[in-house]
Amino acid sequence: MSVQAITAQEKRALKSEPMQLFLLVAFLLASLYAVLQGSAYRQAQVDVADSFTAAQEDRNTAWRDRLVAVENGTTAPEEDRWAGLAMDVSFPATISPGPLSDLAHGVSDVKPATSRVSLWRSVDRLFGNYQVQSPIDTAAGAFDLAFVIIFIMPLLMIALSYDVLSEDRELGRLGLLLSQPISVRQLVTARLKVRFGAVAAIVLIASLVGLFAGSAGQDIGTRLPFMGLWLLVAAAYFLLWTATIVWAISLNLKGETTALLLAGLWIVNGLVGPASLSAAAESLYPTPSRLAFLSEAREASAAAYKSQADIMQGMLLDHPDLTAENYSIPEYIRTAFLVTKTVDDSVVPVLSKFDDVQAERRRFLSKLQFAAPSVLTLQAFNLAAGTNLERHIAFEKSVRDFKQTIMESVEGKVLVGERLSLAEYDALPRYNTQNPSVSSVLGSVALPILFLLALSVFLGTIARSNLDKLQNHLRET
């Protein structure tokens, strides 16, 4: 029996053997489901961001129109004393859905995606009440393509291949097979090529369907480079599992022992490893108490309210230019500004501590992630998808910084009680969404990909040597 004959037999078996066919069809359906639910998820993300921005822009347009009316004399200034009120300046800030957020939701389902940056809100309240997602859904995690590839794909590969050699050996057919002009290595390779080829084809098809289905109006060309990186990560993970399975097969164990060994590796990789690593990261680098942070913000707010006169006095001493007596605007507006500013000053350092702890955790995990390929792969997928924690933390920080910029720009006008001019309003900065760049993502995922490939080569080399030894052993016996 030649390699071609083995290959042809395997191809026939793929179509005719009910269990193999069932597993592959189930995997295809799971992959397509993941992709389609992902595209609905991404569309919803885009819709939320668009409708939020549109609503805020409408509000800002109305605000600006009132100011225009006062400046061009259509409305008398005393008729609309709120027009151009500096304290009412607000701008929308959104994080754009990651380029492949449909394929790996990452942390995008629990982190805030929009903010109305308003001077009425202290930095701890900038993101509004966004915590209405279903806790059941959030706790279970997403059934996205990343989950399918990291969890289901290896298990399917194990189920399709654990007895690729042992079954023939246990049935006493191996000797007969190897009496043909074919080596053990060729036999294993030919069989796995067909079986794993089918798995790889399904992943590729699902990813390509995802590329188009999940675009949510985005240009495919923009998604394509990220998809390239995604496929590189998926390919490296696939190769690692291929090498691991071939290594396990090359140990020439009983079929059930091979299955147990591989299932054990799958469990350690997908469950024990991530659970232990996350528990370790969170125990070693605990975040400051959110409740203590809340208490601190409230104390600062209450204290600022009580000592508003002192705060105002201090402000005027620092800025004598703000002593203009144009207080047609109610005093509570200045009070609110000063209280909010004081709260900001008090809580920003605490928020920075949260960011620092997260950074320490990430540094810790960036080293230990190599202990569990599933962790490495998940983080690489999230990076390629633009749904990683770091990007979301950076978004939150950039919104806080943006608020600070706006606050500094209009502070004088609020305190003096003067309206903003149209030119001043138009000159205020707007929040710019930061999109991940292909080069930065490539820089971040290159090492994980290289590590997965190196591990694959290492295991593959051992497996090759084992299979050659097995060949010699079988020849001798």
Binding site: Y33, Q37, V48, S51, G106, V107, V110, G128, N129, Y130, Q131, V132, Q133, S134, P135, I136, D137, T138, A139, A140, G141, F143, F147, L155, A159, Y162, D163, E256, A259, L260, I267, G270, L271, V272, P274, A275, S276, L277, S278, A279, A281, E282, S283, S289, R290, L291, A292, L294, S295, R298, E299, A302, Y305, K306, F354, R362, L365, L378, Q379, L389
Partner: protein, 477 residues
């Protein structure tokens, strides 16, 4: 005879290094999970205690302030973490732990610990409940997958039959031996319970002992179901290898994949509203129809004015013996409360429909039924959270009313200029919370209990009939 079978099985297990290794690893993970759970719960309880004290102190010392301004600042309700969360934190980290009880608005719970978690925590969380839900069935499978099939493969089943062992004795002996080994995981559960007893639970769950007993019974049913099913499959299939693959496949599907898939389907069929939309609806529907400039809103305020003038038998607001601004504020609260009830019932309804959809999948995944039972009894499920949130909302309404009443009764004609001081704040009550009774909890999970019971009985029947079947097959062979 049963005793002899048990001893023989136990001896075999003791000699199997794989079983000892898995048992040791699971036990070690169980202890780590118990310690991790205790550390998390202990710190949450400590932080809550500090936040409650801080909230009271800040409230008591806010100085002279208009009661309505104070109602905007208001208080917080902090969700207590039950001691049994050491064992099963359920949805605790995904639901928010603090609710702001401000005037005019019903806020969702904020400060979800999942937002501070590392990305990989979404894969798996190291908790005692998770260890038992995921690894105990796996251990059961490992122990008995070869139970009958291997006896048949080795030809020892025939010997057993010839020695007059009835099939039921073989089944019972193997099941008891396997369950004895699984029971060795108990020390980790005992450790979790001991650590739970060592936390500072301020708001004790009612009937903790009974809850704990029910939890233990539920896990026994669950582990029993997997053990019996594994024996049944082992008896039905020709080879132990096939039994292993089928059982590991079933384990992965029902324990890992279906829970994620089910919640995904649940949220697709019963989506929660987008956060921005929900927030906008809350504001727009509770505030604008009362305070806005529309004819409807003006009429609503005019009705309040007419009603209060009639009640006090005066013609003008100025002649009222009460503070009209406070009266109008309270009227707006009562109008808004109806809106909050409607919108939050819709939100909770969406969650609960999701939960019901997920429950349907427990027919193919006993893990879902067990998860519901376990987290409900531990006081960490959706129902527990809703119970807390609804209690907090009732308190918010009473508390805001108390502040408005202070303004109404004592504010006279001062309007918003009326000030209260620390003497008044210090008399205000605290939010006091009593968790639901076990009867209320059980009434929510009776379907899950029935499903789990159904799983255990069905698995028992499969095993019992399977062993009889294997005896018949062997006799005919």
């Amino acid at each position: 005879m049963i005793k002899a079978i048990i001893w023989k099985e136990l001896l075999q297990y003791r000699r199997d290094g794989r079983i000892l290794a898995v048992l040791f690893i699971t036990l070690a993970l169980g202890f780590a999970a118990a310690f991790n759970g205790w550390s998390m719960v202990e710190s949450q309880q400590r932080e809550r205690q500090a936040a409650v004290v801080s909230d009271r102190t800040t409230w008591d010392n806010q100085g002279k302030k208009n009661p309505h301004s104070a109602a905007h600042f208001s208080r917080y309700a902090f969700q207590p973490t039950s001691s049994l969360s050491v064992f099963d934190p359920g949805l605790t980290g995904f639901m928010g732990s603090a609710i702001w009880l401000e005037a005019h608005y019903r806020d969702p719970a904020t400060l979800r610990s999942v937002e501070d978690a590392v990305e990989i925590q979404r894969f798996a969380r190291l908790t005692p409940a998770w260890i038992l839900q995921v690894f105990a069935p796996l251990l059961a499978i490992l122990l008995v997958f070869a139970g009958i099939a291997a006896e048949r493969e080795r030809g020892t089943l025939r010997q057993v039959m010839s020695s007059g062992v009835p099939p039921q004795h073989l089944f019972v002996g193997k099941a008891i031996a396997a369950l004895c080994i699984i029971a060795l995981l108990a020390p980790s559960v005992v450790a979790a319970v001991a650590l739970a007893a060592n936390t500072h639970d301020e708001v004790g769950l009612p009937s903790v002992g009974l809850r704990l007993t029910c939890i233990v019974l539920a896990y026994m049913l669950y582990i029993g179901a997997f053990t019996f099913a594994a024996i049944g499959i082992s008896a039905r299939v020709a080879k132990s290898k096939t039994a292993l693959v089928v059982l590991v496949g079933f384990w992965a599907t029902s324990v890992i994949f279906v829970p994620r898939f089910a919640t995904d389907v649940g949220s697709a069929l019963s989506p929660a509203p987008a956060a921005a939309d929900f927030e906008a609806s809350l504001s727009a529907e509770s505030s604008t129809p009362f305070w806005g400039g529309s004819e409807e809103a003006q009429q609503r305020r005019a009705n309040v004015e007419a009603e209060v003038l009639e009640r006090y038998g005066v013609d003008k607001i100025e002649d009222l013996p009460i503070n009209y601004d406070g009266y109008l504020l309270q009227a707006s609260e009562e109008f808004a409360n109806g809106v909050f009830d409607r919108l939050y019932n819709e939100l909770w309804g969406a969650y609960e429909t999701q939960s019901d959809i997920v429950r349907l999948f427990s027919v193919v995944s006993p893990t879902l039924a067990l998860g519901n039972i376990s987290s409900a009894l531990a006081g960490s499920d959706l129902y527990a959270h809703r119970h807390f949130a609804d209690s907090a909302e009732l308190f918010r309404r009473d508390f805001v009313k108390l502040l408005n009443e202070e303004m109404i009764q004592n504010g006279g004609q001062d309007g918003y200029g009326y000030m209260s001081d620390n003497d008044f704040w210090q008399q205000n009550p605290d939010f006091s919370y009593t968790p639901p009774s076990i009867g209320a909890v059980l009434s929510n999970i009776w379907v899950d209990i029935l499903v789990l019971l159904g799983w255990a009985i069905t698995a028992f029947l499969i095993a019992s009939r399977g062993v009889r079947f294997s005896f018949k097959q062997e006799a005919m062979a």
